[in-house]
Subunit: 186 residues, 2 copies
Amino acid sequence: MAHPQLPREEVIDRLTAVFRREGYEGASLALLSEATGLGRSSLYHHFPRGKEDMAEAVMLAAREKLTNLVLERLAGPGSPRERLSAAVRGWDEFYHGGEASCLTELFSVGAARESFQSLLLSGITRLRGAIAELLAEAGLSKELAEKRSLDALVTIQGGLVVGRASNDPKIFQTVLAELPDRLLSA
Amino acid sequence: MAHPQLPREEVIDRLTAVFRREGYEGASLALLSEATGLGRSSLYHHFPRGKEDMAEAVMLAAREKLTNLVLERLAGPGSPRERLSAAVRGWDEFYHGGEASCLTELFSVGAARESFQSLLLSGITRLRGAIAELLAEAGLSKELAEKRSLDALVTIQGGLVVGRASNDPKIFQTVLAELPDRLLSA
DNA sequence: GTCTATAAGCAGATAGAC
DNA sequence: GTCTATCTGCTTATAGAC
């Protein structure tokens, strides 16, 4: 088993699962190694600065996934409502129906906070912009669109936290399902 | 410096600050010791099972604070709107104006999750009940009151997460300020 | 690109003096 | 009730063989 290897994308997916389950501090090299099937040294080969590099790769991959699953759908073809519904399905997939914790929460605490703050902020800004644009296109005033774009993110993150703390992913799914009507209502 | 000591309440406040800043895994005995001014052994004297006992004490103290700052105000004297406004001020104080992270998030990840899940769930249930009762009293149908009580918690937690990730506590405060109108509207 | 072996330090935890 | 000293195991990280 010298050369062949899991594709990098699959490695990062497995790293992501560990960070989501254990948090940044809790994700030890032992767990990360076990989850990927790579020895510690192999991990350092791919991620020279160790855990910090892995976390960064996880964040960037998450950003890309969110781009594909949500942002592109918000900006895609179709009516605002159709695009919003498609984006909602994307969020549901991204968070595994509410079972996956949000990297936003996990990486805004402790040692990880400083490292990833700017990445978190830019991700939020980008999402807010895309939602606000869609809502403006749907006929809402610019001011209201801005306001509701924040409301959307707050609701999604909150639904995730409350759903996970209650051990009831349905909470997240219900919150998501009601989002389009709420955002688009006059 | 043999006998005299910080009162237990003050010790727990300082432990709380560390857990909130670092998360459960990140809160090392070294940090907890430094924050309280107590040596490791002293911490073990007060909290025999170590970190887990400290975290439990922190959770129970938070529960009590939330009882005083929010629950009692929701059930207190005055009109529903007045009580809701008082509770909102309590939430703001509890979360230090949005700067303090929520223990709910931190303790629903990794090793802490299993230990504290039931405590988290009961806290959420208790709060939801109190909010729903107030809203029913204000004239909302039982069904709508239930629904909005969940919406309240989702919004508060979400505002906290998004505000912290954006490094902008005003987000949390704005979300809080708009809560009474939103919950009480017909 | 992966492995084994190992280093150096910090984690949580305990014993026993004062 | 606090302290110093210590222990074991796990942490991140590196060196070097294959």
